[in-house]
Symmetry: C2
Subunit: 167 residues, 2 copies
């Protein structure tokens, strides 16, 4: 019985950031977390390449994502670790994790369980509206819905859980 090994699985260290060359061209993960301890994460649907969401990870969320192969984020609105899908069943299975040049952004390619949706409003992608490029220039740009309908009713899935959107 070595419960410590489970602990250490979840807390594998990251490499120190020592030089620009090492960060940009090195072979060890040395992520940069911002002043709030977070790194942004772009999540795309592996099959289509569509961007599903932009989330944030703290050290623990990134470590758990690597260790388990399921997307974990830090919920800024709820201020807690967020195992995506734990409430909705819409888990994100990681196909690939990439890191960018200066290692301050993560890209997850995922397959989503169930209906395939990743947006708390009920759409497949959080990016369900496009911005009109030819908008009149003296008023706010207009938005156009590019997804035709919700994949689920948030009330059915989340019940009384508060909406995470903040003004």
């Amino acid at each position: 019985m070595r419960p410590e090994s489970a602990e250490s699985t979840a807390s594998a260290p990251f490499a120190e950031r020592t030089t620009v060359e090492q960060v940009e061209e090195g072979l060890a993960l040395a992520p940069k977390f911002d002043a709030d301890g977070l790194i942004p994460c772009v999540t795309t649907e592996a099959g289509t390449g569509d961007v599903l969401m932009l989330g944030y990870m703290n050290r623990d969320a990134l470590q758990k994502t690597i260790a388990t192969g399921e997307a974990h984020y830090w919920s800024r609105s709820r201020q807690r670790l967020w195992h995506k899908g734990k409430t909705s069943g819409l888990f994100q299975k990681v196909v690939e994790i990439r890191i960018d040049d200066d290692q301050d952004a993560v890209w997850l390619r995922v397959q989503v369980a169930g209906s395939g949706a990743s947006c708390h409003v009920g759409y497949r992608s959080c990016f369900y509206r496009s911005v009109e490029l030819s908008s009149p220039r003296d008023e706010p740009a207009r938005l156009v819905f590019v997804e035709t309908g919700r994949t689920f009713d948030p009330k059915d899935v989340y019940g009384s859980v508060p909406n995470p959107t903040r003004l």
Copy 2:
């Protein structure tokens, strides 16, 4: 002669954020900028869906991107407006702009001029390394190069311009 009209083109207003429903389901662009006045922007290659970079925009950069159809960002390392491609010639022509559910993230789908690269290190995408999911658990995760080579030598393109990567 109405020079003001050129001014107002670049400063089209954004909608006020009044209710969660309006932000999530409305038809007017009402972006949320963070405490530093920035909104994160995921930029993907329109043809392949690959993520090229994750940048940041201030109000001016987002307005100029909408008005001109070419990607503008705010350079955090240089603390100034950044018309992508102005130094390298690798302009990003906007195919589509999307906004997410709570309007605090932008997704640009672009076609890149010239060699098609978007990364200051010389690779096509900034995300040129993947993270090994099966890494040994007691040391930092290993990285694997997924792009086979640089598309240009940064010295040739940027000369003496300082590297923007910060430790």
